[in-house]
Amino acid sequence: MQRTNILFSDFIKGLWQQNPTFRLLIGMCPTLAVTSQVQNGLAMGLATAFTLLASSIIISIFRNFIPKEVRIPSYIVIIATFVTIVSLFLKANFPEVSKALGPYVPLIIVNCLILGRQEAFASKNPVQRSIADALGMGIGFTLSLMVLASVREVLGMGTLLGHQVIFGNFRPWVIMLTPPGAFLTLGLLLGLINIIDKAVKARREKKQ
């Protein structure tokens, strides 16, 4: 029993307590860039999660064979290989998503989230824990991308995943689709989450 709840706690940590976007504030470049539509946010989140998972497995398997001096170049080559595979896969099977994500797919390689995870976690822990951690972080990252993307898409285009959501004479806030909108939305979202967090903590103290 003790074994599984370590894995489970690794997994859960990534989802909320240490959510990469809202808590650790890493991996921001793609977060702001591709979240003008939920579909793109989902695709970027899944691509990042796959790369994170696959490279975590490989790196935690070979963590003792890679000498310390060439640690960063070798990790980066492994990550870049998986990102190229994802990029070719997207171009072959989902051409419009690949065009929409455009130059931000290769940026997954230098996403602070992935190299940070490999260095901090995968290269020092056994495979099972790395998998649980990678899954947690990957899904946490995808969820936060979709939360941000749904706010921006609903306000920016009045649609959600392409279907018209807001009816009547709602003039969409075009700013939400432009860079300023991305910065403002994420800033306000961080504020909102801090407020929710404080409220939850306050209620928990009252209960004790």
């Binding site: 504030l25 921001m28 960063i72 170049p73 990029s87 996403n111 602070c112 300023p180 961080l190």
Partner: protein
Amino acid sequence: MVKELILVFIATVLVNNFVLKYFLGICPFLGVSDNLSSAISMGFATTFVMTITAPVAWLINNYILVKFGLPFLQYVCFIIVIASLVQFVEMVIKKFFPLLHQSMGIYLPLITTNCAILFMALQLVLKDYSLIKSMVFGFGSGIGFTFAITIMASIREELKFQDVPESLKGPGITLIIAGILALIFVGLGGLIQVK
């Protein structure tokens, strides 16, 4: 020819600013911009490495990838060279110029995980700039990064004395300020039409 270079430089610094329009280098932008001096040296270190990476990326692409027809190796080749180059340059500076290492060299390892560098290398290949134009593009994007991070750092230094709402302290207010800065830079859009 020189007119074209100046246009590319101004376009990269002002119109297509790497931070405020393409969202690049946000991790260091949020982290390092809380005091002005570290922001400035961070900016110049990034500019220094970007100016080196641009020609290297151009050479790799034209003399290895295009010549042998291996477009799929682009990401792996660029990133392995950038990572090793940065590691090597940092060791050289640490060994021979300890003073320079203290002020600027410490920023070098940060470059490998900086989205701006890889994006710049891939953009100059995508738009197939010539060698000189690539260097100007690399230098311009570095200056653009420094420009944005210096403005943000000076604002945040003032911010320490203002009363920011409790929940927005730290990254929240920085992102909102970056949003307003991006709004100003959108006004500069259409200033120059350059490929």
